[in-house]
Each structure stands twice: as structure tokens, then as C-alpha cells.
């Protein structure tokens, strides 16, 4: 089986400081990979390099494109990479304000990616937006409201709808449940899990919340100081951590 994403020796430096160093992994279709670590561990840098938001200094990010098969996205042209960014890839930001257009209605936010790939029929765009608002449990009566009038949880669900409307195959998520109330988080996690399974999505989720990865991620990568210190099956890494840092991380979580 061809991996959907194949990362080889990826490194990113900020001057003398390490962003992330020598990261390699494979992600297969339908898999969800969690990346955990504390602030400054390099997980967000890694995610941004994977998603093409930042150029890595070395390494390859090989994506199995629909038409041409595996391509190194680091070396492909910017138009090609941006095209991937609005078709086969999706990026869910921690702060919905970074991923939504706050002055555009909910329907317009969802429709944007469709229009970006050439949809020019208002009625069809609206139908698709309505369908997706329903899927993320937003009342379609709110379709013409701006996201600024939405709660944090609704904004995050809208961001997800906006990202998934073009049927991407790979979703990057940066702390998707950060900043949300616990009850809202649960609803979002449930929604994400359902979508991942029904659409057969692959996802890379960066978070410092171990409960989130336990529920969403099949596999886990633990980062510290820019390096990957441990990888494995999510429940194995959390229940039988091998590296000193992972043990510390797991034992630091408050038990409820």
C-alpha cells in the first residue's frame, strides 16, 4: 500500500535554534496521527512544514497525488502546492478566526473552497453549504449569519465544514479543541471522529491534550526540543510509554 504522506528527514531551523529536526514518518490512507509535546517542542513548526505554510530547510514531504501519484510537495511549484491546499488538503486552525473569514456569512465561508475550484452555480453552492452545515450540526437558519455571531464551538465546526466541503483526503489540525469548553470539546471530537471514519480521511493532529489524541489518533508521535522521542500506537504510547519524557508527560496529566 502506498502511504498517503511520506515524510523523510524533515528539518527546520530558525537560525541556530531547532524548529524540528530529522522527522520521518509514513501516514497511510484512513490513518489519524497525533503529534504531542509541550509548547515549543516543534510540533506546530512540523505541521506548518507539512502543510506547506513554511518551507523546511531539508527533507521531503511526499504526498500521493490523485493524478500523478507520489510527489514531493516541498519541491513542487507554489501554484501546485496551493492547489493541493484547497483541494486534497485541509487545515483546521486552533483559533477559528485564523481559518474563517469573519466578515463573510457562514454559507459564504463554506462555499469559498467550491468557488475556488470553479463552482459558478449559486444554487448548487448553496445546497452544498447547507448540506455541510447540517453535517457539522449548525442550524441552516444561521447560514447567512456571520461567524462573529457564533459561539466558539460553532465557529470551530464551521471551520471544519469549510475545510471538508471539497472532500480533501488529508486534514492538518492544530489544537482543534484548544480554547473550547470541555463539553463543547466532546461534541467536536465526536463530530471529527465520525467525519474521519465516514469520509476515510487521513489526519495529522497537533495537540498537547492527551485525551484528544486518545480518542482521535490511531498513532502517536511524541516531540521534545524539535525531536521525535517516541512513536507508536496511541494507546501503547500512553499506557506503556518508553521514553523518559513521555513517561513524564503521561504522569503529569491530572486524573479525573
Amino acid at each position: 500500500m502506498t502511504p498517503l504522506l511520506e515524510v523523510r528527514n524533515l528539518s527546520k531551523f530558525y537560525g541556530a535554534r531547532i524548529g524540528c529536526a530529522d522527522v520521518s514518518f509514513n501516514l497511510y490512507p484512513g490513518e489519524v496521527l497525533g503529534i504531542v509535546g509541550e509548547s515549543g517542542s516543534g510540533k506546530s513548526t512540523l505541521l506548518n512544514c507539512l502543510a506547506g505554510h513554511q518551507p523546511p530547510d531539508t527533507g521531503e514531504v511526499i504526498f500521493d497525488t490523485r493524478v500523478e501519484g507520489p510527489r514531493d510537495t516541498v519541491r513542487m511549484s507554489e501554484p501546485e502546492r496551493r492547489m493541493l491546499g484547497r483541494t486534497d488538503w485541509a487545515f483546521v486552525h486552533q483559533n477559528p478566526r485564523d481559518g474563517l473569514r469573519m466578515r463573510i456569512s457562514a454559507g459564504g465561508n463554506v462555499g469559498e473552497r467550491l468557488m475556488a475550484v470553479g463552482a459558478r452555480h449559486y444554487g448548487q453552492i448553496r445546497d452544498a453549504a447547507e448540506d455541510w452545515l447540517t453535517r457539522v450540526e449548525i442550524d441552516t437558519g444561521r447560514m447567512d449569519d456571520r461567524p462573529s455571531a457564533f459561539s466558539g464551538g460553532m465557529q470551530q465546526r464551521l471551520q471544519i465544514a469549510r475545510n471538508l466541503v471539497t472532500g480533501p483526503r488529508l486534514v492538518f489540525m492544530d489544537e482543534p479543541t484548544g480554547g473550547l469548553d470541555v463539553s463543547v470539546q466532546a461534541r467536536l471530537l465526536d463530530l471529527l471522529r465520525g467525519l474521519v471514519r465516514r469520509m476515510g480521511l487521513s489526519a495529522v493532529i497537533v495537540t498537547h491534550d492527551l485525551a484528544v489524541v486518545r480518542l482521535l489518533a490511531d498513532r502517536l508521535m511524541v516531540m521534545k526540543d524539535g525531536h521525535v522521542v517516541e512513536t507508536g500506537l496511541t494507546d501503547q504510547v500512553l499506557d506503556d510509554p518508553q521514553h523518559a519524557y513521555t513517561q513524564l508527560l503521561v504522569s503529569s496529566v491530572l486524573q479525573v
Binding site: L233, D239, H243
Partner: protein, 226 residues
């Protein structure tokens, strides 16, 4: 179906002076299709540890664990995930679910993950919940608020939804009344009859006597203190 050879396990506590705790050494046993093996031994002998290694939840330090032809000590994560999806079931003592998901979906989930049609999966889930006497009024609610016994039965229903060829049962009859206990034991007998290889921990001697074909004393695998 399940083969354990020369298995050893220790925990290294890096943050507590790198203390090494040896738990298992030279563990070995086999379970064939249609057979149920009960793990026995004193509390702390490592029964749950063996179960967790069999499920890929704990890493083994040495030896070999083969289930359905996959060596868990060497398999890639996605091979273990595929094994868990298709071949290897596990009923733990505690139900761990995403909050807010209705009970019916929790039970149907293993079938849905296999790509079974919604209708067929929910028919199976309803059947199991009925047999385990979970009132229908609860099916649309999340099991997180259920009593301990109800959660345990939901957990069992979920574990038996798909007919796994290999099944791990950790205290499946604990905290159940006599009627439900009997139902669970019947489910285990049905699984055996269908050819499942089962490894179980049963504190309840009567239950053990009814379903287990053999016993493996995990105490035999406790490392000799150096």
C-alpha cells in the same frame, strides 16, 4: 490462533531513578480456535499485563506474540490496528468511549469500522443490547452516565458485536447479577462454538469452570529475583 513464546516484560521508570520492574519472563502458551484459556495467578502476578501485551497495548521486551499470523512484538502500528479491527477483540474492565455518542452507536462501532452497512450493524447492536437487558430507553443515550453494571454490559455488547476470531476478556462477569452473568457466559460459549480463540481472566471460579478449557498460571512466568 494465539501463540506466546518466551515472552518477557519489564517497566523502566525513568523518572524514578530509572528503576526497572520485571514483570514477566519466559511466558509461553498457545490457544487454538474454539478454545478458551483462563489466566490465573495471584493479584499482581501479571495477568492484566499479559492481556495488554496480547492486545498490543504494552510493548514486550522479548519473545514473540503471534495472533492470526501477525507478530505483535514486531508489527507496525497499522498492522496492529488492522488486526484489532478484523481479528482481535478486547473486552476490558472499563468502558472508554467518546462522550455524547449514543449507546447503540457505541456497540455498533466495531462493525461500522469494518465497513458493515449501518442497518446490519444496528440490527446486531440492538440484538446484543436486548440480550444483555439494557432497557431500550437508554439506547439513544451516552453510556458515560450509566451505572457500573450497565457500562460493563455495554462494553461486552461492543466486544461481541463483531465475531472476532481471537478474543481477550478481562473480568467479563465482574459486577454482573446472575441472569446477566449467564447471558455473558452464553455469549462466550457461542463465540467458542463459532471458532474463536479466547483468553480470559475470571476471578469468578464458577464462570471459569463453565467456559475455560484450560488454565495458565501466570505466576509461573514471574521473574526470579536476581
Amino acid at each position: 490462533m494465539i501463540e506466546v513464546e518466551n515472552l518477557s516484560k519489564s517497566f523502566t521508570l525513568h523518572n524514578q531513578g530509572s528503576a526497572v520492574i520485571k514483570v514477566l519472563d519466559g511466558a509461553a502458551f498457545r490457544v487454538g480456535p474454539g478454545e478458551c484459556v483462563a489466566l490465573t495467578g495471584e493479584s499482581g502476578a501479571g495477568k492484566s499485563t499479559v492481556m495488554r501485551i496480547l492486545y498490543g497495548n504494552y510493548l514486550a521486551q522479548g519473545g514473540r506474540v503471534s495472533i492470526g499470523g501477525v507478530d505483535l512484538t514486531r508489527a507496525a502500528p497499522r498492522e496492529i490496528l488492522a488486526l484489532r479491527r478484523e481479528t482481535l477483540g478486547y473486552v476490558s474492565q472499563f468502558l472508554r468511549v467518546v462522550p455524547r455518542v449514543p449507546t447503540l452507536e457505541v456497540v455498533a462501532e466495531p462493525l461500522l469500522a469494518l465497513g458493515v452497512e449501518d442497518d446490519a450493524a444496528f440490527v446486531r447492536a440492538r440484538d446484543l443490547l436486548t440480550r444483555l437487558r439494557i432497557p431500550e430507553t437508554l439506547w439513544s443515550l451516552s453510556p458515560t452516565t450509566f451505572s457500573g453494571g450497565e457500562q460493563q454490559r455495554v462494553n461486552i455488547a461492543r466486544g461481541f458485536a463483531h465475531g472476532y476470531p481471537a478474543l481477550l476478556l478481562d473480568e467479563p462477569t465482574a459486577s454482573l447479577d446472575a441472569t446477566n452473568r449467564d447471558t455473558v457466559l452464553t455469549l462466550i460459549e457461542e463465540a467458542k462454538a463459532a471458532g474463536a480463540a479466547i483468553v480470559g481472566i475470571f476471578h469468578d471460579a464458577e464462570a471459569r469452570g463453565r467456559v475455560a478449557d484450560r488454565e495458565v498460571d501466570v505466576g509461573r512466568f514471574t521473574p526470579v529475583a536476581a
